[in-house]
Structures are given as structure tokens and as C-alpha cells.
């Protein structure tokens, strides 16, 4: 069982609300078990703060199994910390060493304002989806599912794009705070499938327009988003989106 022996120094971003300015605050933690998840380590910190009469650190989290996309810490300069293909909630303390100093900040992007401490507002992503990230099919309008055979390779590629958890790590790590990986993943998923064809060119235009309106930056092909994405979403999606966006410009308005 896990009585741990790691001693750590945390430097955590504390910010009262969206209007105040924040700063990094130091906390010492001892007896941390390497089997703890990173968020469980924060639970220990918060328990100590509450006992001392201080305010606990606010951070977003929910499923703690890497799928809901809610957790969002920028750890030592990397979204979701040092390990590839994991979210913060699936990062375990065995990835750190006794005596480490760990700096923890919120996602930083103009389109993701800080709400409090480490929690940010990612509602811009919802608005981008609302602008076109769907197939317009009302409940009850569907034909038998097997009337629409889809080649396995296409279905698998669509699934890979659809695996995006909407956490925003791509935006947080991008020097331009671009949301292109997120937006292109949804566009790709639907562009790869026959169900997505009727609205394909409208979709790419309205989603890109909304993305710009939210204040996300542009893509300069650095690839940090792909490198940091906890779900391995590929840069190919951005290429696919750009191709469709360009094609849409050449298609007559009636077709779009």
C-alpha cells in the first residue's frame, strides 16, 4: 500500500477571479506516493490548505480516467505534463522524482480566460461546434444503419479524428493559441464520412469563421499541438481542413 516518500515543491498559479491578477505561490508537500495521480496529489494539497484555514486551489477535473477532457493543467511548461498521450488525471507521480519542483499554471490563451486559479473558460469550443460541427439530422430521420456501408479505413480514420476530447491542450501549447487541431478534427471526422458530405463545405466555412471570431490564433505549422495532444490527434486533420476550406472558396454558392 502507499505511504509515499516523495517530497515536492509546487509552484501553483493562484488567481482569485477573472478580473484580478494572479501569481505563482510555493507549496511544500511531503510523503507523496509515486502511485498517486497528479490530481490526487492536488487533493492532498487542498486537504492541507483547508485544514490550515486557507483556500484550496481550484482546478477543473471530472472523470479522472482521461476521457472527459475537463482536466487542464500546464505542468512544467507542458499541457498535461511530461508524458506523451496522457491527460493530467492519468499522469502519475512516478513520472516525477523526489525533491522536484513542479510549476503548475492554467491554460493560457486569449480565447480561454482564467476563471479562478487553474480553471479556464473553454466555452469557445462549444460555440465552434454549434457553428457547424454536426450532421443536420433530426431524431427519427435515419435510415437503417447498414444501408450505408463505409469502408473500414474511412471509418477508422474518422474515429481517430473523433477521439478528440476537447481539452484545449492544443491551444494552450500553441505559440499562436490556435485552435486548428481541435476544429480540424471535427471537420475531418465528418468530411471522411458519407453522412458529412451534404454540409461539408458550409461546415468548414462556418466553423473556421467562428474559430476566428473567438480570438484563436492562426496556424504556423509548428506541430506543438500534435506533439502535446493527449489523444494523438494528427496534423493531417489540419491539412484536410485547409484543403476543404480552400475548395469551398471555389465552389459556387448554390453548392455550398
Amino acid at each position: 500500500m502507499s505511504t509515499g516518500n516523495m517530497n515536492l515543491t509546487l509552484q501553483v498559479w493562484r488567481q482569485k477571479n477573472s478580473k484580478s491578477t494572479g501569481k505563482l505561490v510555493d507549496y511544500k508537500l511531503s510523503d507523496i506516493s509515486p502511485d498517486m495521480s497528479f490530481l490526487e496529489m492536488f487533493d492532498v494539497l487542498n486537504e492541507q490548505l483547508i485544514t490550515k484555514g486557507e483556500e484550496p486551489v481550484v482546478f477543473d477535473h471530472d472523470c479522472r480516467e482521461g476521457i472527459c477532457g475537463m482536466c487542464s493543467m500546464f505542468i512544467n511548461g507542458q499541457p498535461h505534463g511530461p508524458k506523451d498521450l496522457v491527460t493530467t488525471c492519468q499522469l502519475h507521480m512516478r513520472s516525477f522524482k523526489d525533491g522536484d519542483t513542479i510549476v503548475v499554471e492554467p491554460w493560457r490563451a486569449k480565447a480561454f480566460p482564467v476563471i479562478k486559479d487553474l480553471a479556464v473558460d473553454r466555452s469557445a469550443f462549444d460555440r465552434v461546434i454549434a457553428a457547424g460541427g454536426f450532421v443536420s439530422v433530426n431524431t427519427g430521420n435515419a435510415q437503417d444503419a447498414n444501408n450505408l456501408p463505409i469502408p473500414k479505413s474511412k471509418a477508422d480514420a474518422a474515429f481517430e479524428a473523433a477521439a478528440c476530447i476537447g481539452c484545449g491542450a492544443c491551444v494552450a501549447t500553441c505559440k499562436n493559441a490556435s485552435a486548428m487541431l481541435f476544429v480540424s478534427a471535427k471537420i475531418s471526422q465528418l468530411a471522411l464520412l458519407p453522412q458529412g458530405q451534404p454540409e461539408r463545405y458550409r461546415r468548414v466555412q462556418s466553423m473556421v469563421a467562428q474559430m476566428d471570431e473567438e480570438g484563436f490564433g492562426n496556424c504556423t505549422n509548428t506541430g506543438a499541438c500534435e506533439a502535446e495532444c493527449p489523444k494523438g490527434i494528427s496534423l493531417e486533420n489540419i491539412a484536410r481542413m485547409n484543403r476543404d476550406y480552400l475548395s469551398a472558396k471555389f465552389i459556387s454558392e448554390e453548392e455550398v
Binding site: 502507499s2 506516493s33 502511485d35 498517486m36 487533493d43 486537504e47 483547508i50 485544514t51 484555514g53 486557507e54 483556500e55 484550496p56 481550484v58 477535473h61 471530472d62 472523470c63 479522472r64 480516467e65 482521461g66 476521457i67 472527459c68 477532457g69 475537463m70 498521450l85 496522457v86 492519468q90 502519475h92 512516478r94 476563471i115 479562478k116 480553471a119 473553454r122 466555452s123 462549444d126 461546434i129 454549434a130 457547424g132 460541427g133 454536426f134 450532421v135 439530422v137 433530426n138 431524431t139 427519427g140 430521420n141 435515419a142 437503417d144 444503419a145 447498414n146 456501408p149 463505409i150 469502408p151 473500414k152 471509418a155 474518422a158 474515429f159 477521439a163 476537447g166 465528418l190 453522412q195
Partner: protein, 659 residues
């Protein structure tokens, strides 16, 4: 005289829903535009209901406590969704899905509801595929299926180990489409803290804006809850950290009956607890039992590594005890069998509270098939394992990765260690055939209601029920109520009932913040969870339950005297949110124990040690307990039992047999 009327339509079982649909009163489009519906929760049940109601023309407000509706805990469902499509031509049918679900639920669910669920199951798959949900396919381009527990057909549709995610994102995209059109107003980071009842009907809610702390009043001609299950009453469960019973409990205290609270599902294949720091447990999908064999050493306290234990010294106890279903027995049966082996001293791992889930045999088998496809008809073992591992990786890759992350072990090389954990709650708010609670105008869908799974839910049926309720059932049945409400003008939220409900919520918040005790909310939650797991968990008995009720009552008093909630009411304050939830869990925990104590039989997930067969199987008492226990709230620690008799007209009730 019971106050319960399940409102099941008359007629032949197979015709009930068809007849209902063609005779339910309609609301014309102009009237729909002036009728407002509040949907609380944005998981499969809530999001699909909100989207569909808006498509139909109703004005919808949808609430979720997360930062986006896409994060509801349905997203974490792994294995799949059942549907009676019979695409595999293996003899499946609506009737078989209906039958399997009733039997799997140990004959404690309503026939009419379950048959309707089976009928609409096929439509769900059609709808999701039309939305662009990328379900798994075969090389021919058609949809693939796999097996789940408690059935002998392959009717489970899936998207790798992320079926819930893909289905939820489908419902979320349908919801966001309506948000974009202005037909749904979405309230994220809002938590419902009470229902407003006027002249006996649900007319709105009090919600707290979790960022500003502001209390808001919202009117609706009807209110729909899709707020999920209450597994977190055990503290450790596979639920998300935020999953809670608060909305359901608040409506219970305002008059909605709570049914079968003691029916909880303990899932057999979860990653074992590793220490006191643990905040949640992680499921390893039931789909793994398609290809994994469960075993423990034949020798007690065997400390050898799994790979050092020869084949003939392993006890594949599920295959031994249940040869017909083997590793695919229903969850309650598999969980109890694991507990039995561990209690008897055959458990593995450092805690001895784990069994092995081993993929080696099937990895080798798949490898042999792959080699054969490539023309190698006599492959060596290493080739088989290499090729087979690739197959396993494609089927379950994300689950294996998750296991490796959490345990630090490589499941491709050593068997997984697994142990049962709380996963799902079959009990919930009592609803009639229309999914309406005992408060007129208040509906309850998905896991939050009690209706379809009896005493044990079969795998891959939660997604089915959530989407059935939201896409295909509620949008019809709510019309029967709303058609009578077309003359009701929106009630201004300065109505005394709104003011009073808000004041009550405010008083509770002030109380939390003024106690200023010495222990955190989590401290109490952990203690509650410990009581529940030890005394109202996989096995229950009279003595333990009686003690638990007393302990929970004491815990409640201590909580209200000594809890420490930092911060203030008018800010983002997660500790305050937790305080609300844990206060409600404590009250619910007491009712669960009382329900478990009342039910002097074993059925499904409810196992009373006093009631078992000589072979240790659950022993039902159909003569005295073939009823739904619906509890009415009468004040602190006061609950009155109402019984809804269960009548089986189409299925012959029998002792479940998976041997």
C-alpha cells in the same frame, strides 16, 4: 391504497408502445413554441432529450455542472451499446433482448418498459450512425458487433473502448446544433439545487451559477432530470468526481418517490484499490471478458508471479462454476464469484483483493488466425503472440494503455489484476410508463430513474437506455402532459414558490459556510463510503445494515456540526458544491440501507447473506418481494414504503441459471 400508478397501456405487450404512440395527444407547432421545457443534465439521456425536444419545436433550457455538455459522465462508458438488429444472424430479436434484460435484471423490472426499450434499440443505432458516430466496422463496410455478459448473441455495437464518448459526442453535436439555432439555451457550470412545485406541478428549478455563485430561478412548463446515478455515495466508484444525487434527491424531498435505492451494480472488472490516497476507481470494460479469462491460483496465498503458475494450477472459476456462460456471466454473478475467491484466501496482488484477467490464450489464438491469413499455417508461439498482440491492441488499445498508466504494469505481458467496484445504480427516481415521477410535470430519464434494469443491469444496456429515453421515449410521452398545458402562461419567477425555494437553498448555503468546523467535506464523504462499502456493498446482512443506519445517522449529525467549507457563497467554490452533494449522499445512504434491510431476499446486485442457495447463489423470494419499493420522503430519517407489484404476463419467472 397505493399512490402508485404505473400507467402501463392496456393490450398485447408487443403492441403497447405502437398503440401509445399513435394515440398520444399531440401539440401543434405553434403551441410547442410557447411551451418551455427544462432539461437538467447533458449526458446521453439529457442531451438527446434536449436536442430532440428542441427539434420538435419546444423552447428548451439545458443545464449541466461541467464546463461543457460534452463532459457528462456518459462519455466514460467503454464497451458498447446493445441493439436488437440481428445483423449477425445469430437469432437475435426484440423479444430476445427484452427477455435477456428481464432475466439479467433478476425479474425485478417492468415488462412493458423493457419491451419498449428493446423495440427502440434498433432506431438508436440508425440515429447515431446518421449523425456521423464512427462505430466499429468490418472490412465489408458494415457494422461490427461483439458479445457482452448475460447474453448468447452478439448484439453489442461499439467504437473501440470509447463507445460512450462517441455516442455522447453525437448527442452533444445534435444539442449544439439546436444551441446554434437558438432553440436550446445552454447553462453550463450551473447546478440545480431545488425543484419548484406550484399547485402540485413541477414548474421550474433553482440553479446556482457555479462561477458567480448567483442563485437563479428558471421557469418551465415541465422539468426533465437526466442527472445520472448515485454510485458516488460509496466515495470510491467508477463514476466521475462530480457525479452526484443532488438533483434527484432534491426532487425526492419535494415529493418524488425514490425506487429500489439498494440496487447497486458492482462491476467485476475494475483496477483494484492501490492506497488510501485513491480518489476514484477505473473500470476495465466488460468487453475484455470476450477475450480475457479470469482465474486465481488453485493454491491459497500463492505468491508466485502469474507467469510462473502452470496451467493446471490455475482455477478458471467462472468457467468451472458456469460452463454455459463462462467468463460472460452477468456482472453481479461475476463480482460475487471474485469476492468469494478472495474472501476464501485465493486473491492475488499485494492486497490479495484481486483476481487475474488473462489475455494470453486468446492473443495466441488471434495470432494463429492472422498467421494463417498471411499463409503461415504452422507459426511458432512467438509469431502468434506478436501477431495476436496487434489484434488485441486494435480491439482494446486504449484500455490497455489506461491500465498501464494507472498500475505501472504492462498488461500485454502480465495478466491484469482486477477487482469489483461500484459502477452503476439501477435504483433511482420512480417513474411511470411515461417516465413521469410522482410529481406531475417532472420527468426522469436515463440512469437517474429506476425503470428498466431491475436488480441488475446487463452490460452495454446503460447507453441503450439513456438514448432510448432521450431520443425516442420522452419526446413522445411528454406530449401527453404538455398537450394539457397549452393554456398555461409562463409563471413569473417572483411567484412565492420560487422565492421560497430560493430562500431554502440560500439558507442551506449560509449554514454550510457558518459551521466552520474542523473536517473537510471529503473527510465525511470517505467515512460514508466506508460504511456503505462494508455494510451495504457486495454482501449485506441484517446486523450490518442495522449498524450502518445508526452510523450514518451519527455521521450526519457530525457533518452538520463539524464540516469546514472554506470560501464564500458568491464565488467559484468547489468545496461548497461538494458540501451540497455529500449532505445529500449521507441522507441517501441511510435510505439505501433501509431499503436493503426491507428486502429480505437476494436478487441481482442486492445480495443478502441470509438468503442464498446451498451453492451460494442469490435466492429470490417472488412471493413476497416481486415489487418495486418506492419510498416517500416524510422528513429527516423518515421514509414511507409504497409497493408497485410487478406482474409477469409474458415471461415465466424462474431462478436465473447461467450454468
Amino acid at each position: 391504497m397505493s399512490k402508485l400508478n404505473s400507467n402501463i397501456p392496456a393490450g398485447e405487450l408487443t403492441q403497447k408502445w405502437t398503440k401509445y404512440k399513435s394515440s398520444v395527444p399531440l401539440v401543434n407547432p405553434a403551441n410547442k413554441r410557447s411551451l418551455e421545457v427544462i432539461v437538467v443534465g447533458s449526458g446521453l439521456a439529457g442531451a438527446s432529450a434536449a436536442a430532440t425536444l428542441a427539434e420538435m419545436g419546444y423552447k428548451v433550457k439545458c443545464f449541466c455542472f461541467q464546463d461543457s455538455p460534452r463532459r457528462a459522465h456518459s462519455i466514460a462508458a467503454q464497451g458498447g451499446i446493445n441493439a436488437a438488429k440481428n445483423y449477425q444472424n445469430d437469432g437475435d430479436s426484440t423479444y430476445r433482448l427484452f427477455y435477456d434484460t428481464i432475466k439479467g435484471g433478476d425479474y425485478r423490472a417492468r415488462e412493458a418498459n423493457v419491451h419498449r426499450l428493446a423495440e427502440v434499440s434498433a432506431n438508436i443505432i440508425d440515429q447515431c450512425v446518421a449523425q456521423g458516430v464512427p462505430l466499429a466496422r468490418e472490412y465489408g463496410g458494415l457494422l461490427d458487433n461483439r458479445s457482452f455478459g448475460g447474453t448468447q448473441v452478439q448484439r453489442t455495437f461499439y467504437a473501440a473502448g470509447q463507445t460512450g464518448q462517441q455516442l455522447l459526442l453525437g448527442a452533444y453535436s445534435a444539442l449544439e446544433r439546436q444551441v446554434g439555432m437558438g432553440k436550446v439555451q445552454m447553462y453550463t457550470r450551473h447546478e440545480m439545487l431545488d425543484v419548484v412545485v406550484i399547485d402540485g406541478k413541477a414548474r421550474g428549478i433553482i440553479a446556482r451559477n457555479l462561477i458567480t455563485g448567483e442563485l437563479e430561478r428558471h421557469f418551465g412548463h415541465a422539468v426533465v432530470l437526466g442527472t445520472g446515478g448515485y454510485g458516488n455515495v460509496f466515495y470510491l466508484s467508477t463514476n466521475a468526481m462530480g457525479s452526484n444525487v443532488t438533483a434527484a434527491w432534491k426532487v425526492h424531498k419535494k415529493g418524488a418517490f425514490f425506487a429500489n435505492p439498494c440496487y447497486t451494480q458492482i462491476h467485476p472488472t475494475c483496477i483494484p484499490v492501490s492506497g488510501d490516497h485513491q480518489s476514484k476507481l477505473t473500470l476495465m470494460s466488460e468487453s475484455l471478458r470476450n477475450d480475457g479469462r479470469i482465474w486465481v491460483p488453485k493454491k491459497k496465498d500463492d505468491t508466485r508471479k502469474a507467469s510462473d503458475i502452470p496451467e493446471d494450477e490455475r482455477d478458471y472459476y467462472l468457467e468451472r462454476r458456469y460452463p454455459a456462460f463462462g467468463n460472460l456471466v452477468p456482472r453481479d454473478v461475476a463480482s460475487r464469484a471474485a469476492k468469494e475467491r478472495c474472501d476464501a484466501g485465493y486473491g492475488v496482488g499485494s492486497s490479495k483483493l484481486a483476481v487475474y484477467l488473462d489475455f494470453k490464450a486468446n492473443t495466441e489464438r488471434y495470432g494463429r488466425i492472422e498467421a494463417s491469413k498471411a499463409g503461415n499455417h504452422n507459426p511458432d508461439k512467438e509469431t502468434c503472440m506478436r501477431l495476436g498482440t496487434a489484434v488485441i491492441k486494435e480491439k482494446y488499445g486504449n484500455l490497455f494503455d489506461m491500465y498501464a498508466q494507472i498500475t505501472g504494469e504492462n498488461p500485454y505481458e502480465t495478466p491484469m489484476r482486477i477487482y469489483p467496484a461500484v459502477h452503476y445504480t439501477m435504483g433511482g427516481v420512480w417513474v411511470d410508463y411515461d417516465l413521469m415521477t410522482t410529481i406531475p410535470g417532472l420527468y426522469c430519464t436515463g440512469e437517474a430513474n429506476f425503470s428498466d434494469h431491475g436488480a441488475n443491469r446487463l452490460g452495454a444496456s446503460a447507453l441503450m437506455q439513456g438514448l432510448a429515453d432521450g431520443y425516442f421515449v420522452l419526446p413522445y410521452t411528454i406530449g401527453s402532459y404538455l398537450s394539457k398545458e397549452i393554456a398555461t402562461k409562463p409563471i413569473p419567477t417572483d411567484h412565492p414558490a420560487f422565492v421560497e425555494a430560493e430562500n431554502e437553498v440560500k439558507a442551506t448555503i449560509d449554514k454550510f459556510l457558518s459551521i466552520n468546523g474542523t473536517k473537510s467535506v471529503d473527510h465525511f464523504h470517505k467515512r460514508l463510503g466506508h460504511i456503505m462499502w462494508e455494510k451495504c456493498g457486495m454482501a449485506r446482512n441484517r446486523e450490518g445494515l442495522t449498524q450502518a443506519i445508526q452510523e450514518i445517522q451519527d455521521l450526519r449529525k457530525e457533518f452538520w456540526a463539524d464540516v469546514k467549507v472554506p470560501g464564500s457563497a458568491d464565488e467559484f467554490n468547489p468545496e461548497l458544491e461538494k458540501a451540497h452533494r455529500v449532505a445529500d449522499f449521507i441522507e441517501l445512504g441511510e435510505l439505501m440501507c433501509k431499503d436493503a434491510l426491507n428486502r429480505e431476499e437476494s436478487c441481482g446486485g442486492h445480495f443478502r447473506e441470509e438468503h442464498q442457495t446451498e451453492e451460494g447463489e442469490a435466492k429470490r423470494d417472488d412471493e413476497n418481494f416481486a415489487y418495486v419499493a418506492a419510498w416517500e420522503y416524510k422528513g429527516v430519517s423518515q421514509f414511507e414504503l409504497h409497493k408497485e407489484e410487478l406482474n409477469y404476463e409474458n415471461i415465466k419467472v424462474a431462478q436465473r441459471n447461467y450454468k
